[in-house]
């Protein structure tokens, strides 16, 4: 694995973190091999006196299904939120496709093709499933107000809408929720919401998908279905970073695993390596897994 710049996180305390200069980022960006769309360098986030994320570095390989695991409170979701711009990181850098996206707004990050889902599915409840999916695609010309309103310019908008509609129905069929198309998202069950959320994220046509506990609250049969779909999508070329606290699920499905513990990176590597890592076993001792 590529761990050249990341270093060993626990070797350095937070005080000794090297200042990352712009030149470093540029260098890192130049050195970023094409196969690493997402790189996190020394990420740090504090809430009041608590350091939730403490100098975490890792990479996500193109076309991979990478898992981010750790016990509750390990800082997984905070890491996610820092990567996607929901929280502002207190230190470190996030590189996406070679560009520095640290401190960018969520919409800028999503617009570059790094799209996330939420731990607790956040549906646009009083919008139908169709509307939810229609919202997602990037580059919709009709999102410019004058294009949608001016009589002469609407033709192109309608043309694009028709195309998007086709994609939406295909996606709905892929996830087998086309029978719910006209339903308000708020009326969906928990599992259906998870499907909708993934379908919606997919409609953005992202390069990398960050899934925050996509299986939480999902029944086993739906879980299997979701996993199957994730694998299918991966074969089509999508890259996934998966946050989960269910270690077995990650072990079985991901080829690369990042383990966080108490805000720090504990271990990184393929499943068999992680399985035999003493520190990981220690961290999970007493945890019901």
């Amino acid at each position: 694995m590529n761990t050249d710049t990341a270093g060993s996180p626990e070797a350095k305390g937070p005080d000794e973190l090297p200042d990352i200069e712009d030149s470093d980022v540029e260098k890192a960006a130049q050195e970023t091999p094409r196969g690493l769309p997402l790189r996190v360098l020394n990420l740090e986030k504090r809430f009041g006196g608590i350091t939730a994320v403490d100098g975490v570095s890792f990479e996500v390989e193109e076309g991979s299904l990478t898992g981010l695991i750790g016990p509750n409170g390990a800082g997984k979701s905070t890491t996610f939120n820092c990567i996607t711009g929901v929280h502002e990181a207190d230190g470190g850098r996030v590189l996406f496709k070679g560009d520095d996206i640290t401190g960018r707004k969520p919409y800028e990050i999503a617009d570059r093709g790094l799209v996330r889902t939420f731990q607790i599915a956040r549906e646009l409840e009083e919008m139908t499933v169709l509307e939810n999916l229609m919202l997602a695609p990037r580059g919709q010309i009709g999102e410019k107000l004058y294009r949608s309103v001016t009589p002469g310019l609407r033709g192109e908008v309608i043309e694009q809408e028709t195309e998007i509609r086709e994609e939406v129905w295909e996606t709905l069929e892929f996830f087998e929720i086309d029978h719910l198309a006209e339903e308000y998202a708020g009326n969906l069950s928990g599992g259906q919401r998870k499907l909708l959320e993934l379908a919606r994220a997919l409609m953005v046509d992202p390069d990398v998908l960050l899934l925050d506990e996509p299986f939480a609250g999902v029944n086993p049969s739906l879980e299997a279905k979701l996993l199957e779909q994730i694998h299918t999508l991966r074969e089509e070329g999508y890259t996934f970073l998966l946050v989960e606290h269910d270690i077995d699920l990650i072990m079985e499905n991901c080829e690369h695993i990042i383990v966080m513990h108490q805000g720090k990176l504990l271990a990184e590597g393929p499943p068999e390596e992680i399985r035999n890592n003493d520190r990981v076993i220690d961290a999970y001792l007493g945890e019901d897994i």
Binding site: T84, V86, K105, P106, Y107, E108, A110, D111, V115, R116, F118, R122, E123, L124, E125, E126, M127, T128, L130, E131, M134, L135, A136, R138, Q140, I141, G142, E143, K144, L145, S148, V149, R154, V157, I158, E161, T162, R165, E166, V168, W169, A181, E182, Y184, R200, A201, V204
Partner: protein, 462 residues
């Protein structure tokens, strides 16, 4: 099942399912009710029936139209985007005052820019949009209830500034100590201060009919028809303007807002209302969208203000107290926020039954009681009208109580408004029409190429 639900069930489904028919049926029913009650009033008061009905209906038309216009404009902010803007009165004021100042003659008191009315109107819309854009900045970071306080504060700031003597432009002699003309890059103007300001016209119908003393051919014709029906020129003018507002302006607002709503842009608005972070996580620059929607909505409110308060020939800052905002909010909430059809229905129901209704009812009750008393106690008998609460209620005379209540119907109307607001919030926050699926897309989403669409689209939930 409540009475309301029974009534609603009695409405034929062909009307319920078609927005245009629903609005037309509602308007027709309302007009009929007013016409009948007005005929009764005219007969009781020995007045000419037709002019009385015409006058009542022209007033009703105007009110329905302006409240529908304002509710539609507000629906863009509150119904679609979830922006809790309770500064509507302020934006109306900006519109009306901008137009009046731009159109006022430079030599007048207060002086203005002397622009032709159409240019002044466009200028006013641009100014209102800019003010709206500035007002949008707080909306970028504040939660809904904080935004409410900011916008109502802003609307009061606008009113107080317009009310201040400092910018009034009423003392145009530069030598005077109380000289208060605003001088902006050599352009001199004033707001009129607490005295108010003249708007370009007191009779918008004259743009069609020519000046009232010397009408053009169309005017001659319209006034001629009026005379033959016993209706005077001012009622003809009022009716013409009301119908213009209802048929053209309300329709234009409706079409525009449906277009905005049923588009990719409208989808983003809805997403902001539901969950702004989700919209952002899907790559939507919600901040820019909010600024745009604030600008457009405020311009529409400004135009509404111009067509409404700007049509009387004169306006003063106290016209734009926050109560006006609450009227409009009530109209939208009653109709159903989020729905454009609901906005129009709300405007009509508010104007006809909450705003004008109690007064009309009081007139009818007064006339009926008067008639009854004459039959019972002979000619000359009438309902007592005590001049204060103490007198009315200490006499222990139920007729006195009734008389006082009828005489003070305008304050009871506010109490009714308050009760309706509370009731709606407790029991029916989705408004009269309930949740309607007005799908935000430029195309019919249930339709697909090559595939048969599901057939149950567009049905109201529940």
């Amino acid at each position: 099942m409540s009475v309301g639900q029974r009534l609603w069930r009695a409405v034929p489904s062909s009307i319920k399912e078609d927005d245009k028919r629903l609005i037309i049926a509602l308007l027709a029913g309302t007009y009929l009710l007013y016409a009948v009650s007005q005929v009764y009033l005219a007969l009781m008061n020995n007045a000419d029936v037709f002019p009385a009905v015409a006058n009542s209906l022209q007033n009703l038309t105007f009110l329905i139209a302006v409240y529908a216009i304002m509710a539609l404009a507000l629906n863009l902010h509150w119904g679609y985007t979830g922006l809790f803007n309770i500064g509507i009165a302020g934006f109306m004021a900006v519109g009306v005052y901008s137009m009046s100042i731009l159109a006022a003659p430079p030599g007048g008191s207060p002086p203005g820019f002397g622009l032709p009315v159409p240019i002044a109107l466009i200028g006013a819309l641009v100014i209102t949009a800019i003010v709206g854009g500035i007002a949008a900045l707080p909306a970028l970071q504040l939660e809904a209830d904080y935004l409410a306080i900011v916008t109502v504060g802003l609307s009061e700031i606008i009113r107080l500034v317009l009310n201040a003597d400092y910018f009034s432009g009423t003392v145009t002699d530069p030598q005077s100590n109380s000289y208060n003309v605003v001088n902006l890059f050599g352009f001199k103007f004033g707001t009129g201060g607490g005295q108010g300001i003249n708007t370009p016209t007191s009779s918008p119908a004259s743009y069609l009919y020519g000046p009232s003393g010397d009408p053009n051919a169309i005017g001659e014709l319209a006034y001629g028809i009026g005379v033959s029906l016993g209706v005077n020129n001012s009622v003809v003018n009022g009716f013409t303007y009301g119908m213009f507002l209802l048929l053209f302006v309300v329709t234009a607002y409706y079409v525009l807002l449906v277009r905005i709503g049923n588009s990719p842009f409208g989808r983003v608005l809805k997403a902001i209302r539901e969950d702004e972070l989700v919209a952002q996580s899907l790559g939507k620059d919600t901040r820019w969208v909010k600024i745009k929607v604030f600008m457009v909505g405020c311009a529409l409110m400004g135009l509404g203000g111009i067509l409404w308060q700007g049509s009387f020939g004169f306006v003063n800052p106290n016209t734009f107290r926050p109560i006006v905002t609450f009227y409009i909010f009530t109209a939208l909430i009653v109709g159903g926020s989020g729905s454009n059809t609901g906005s129009v229905v709300g405007g009509a129901v508010f104007a006809a039954f909450l705003f004008e209704g109690p007064r009309q009812l009081a007139r009818v009750v007064e006339a009926a009681m008067g008639g009854l008393l004459i039959t019972v106690s002979g000619p000359g008998a009438s309902l007592p009208s005590p001049n204060n609460f103490y007198v009315a209620f200490s006499t222990l005379d139920p007729l006195g109580w009734l008389g006082y209540t009828i005489g003070n119907i305008s304050s009871l109307r506010f109490i009714l408004l308050g009760v309706v607001l509370v009731y709606m919030m407790q029991n029916r926050s989705e408004g009269l029409l309930g949740h309607r699926k007005e799908i935000a897309a430029s195309v019919d989403l249930s339709e697909r190429k090559g595939n048969v669409a599901p057939t149950d689209g567009g049905e109201t939930n529940e």
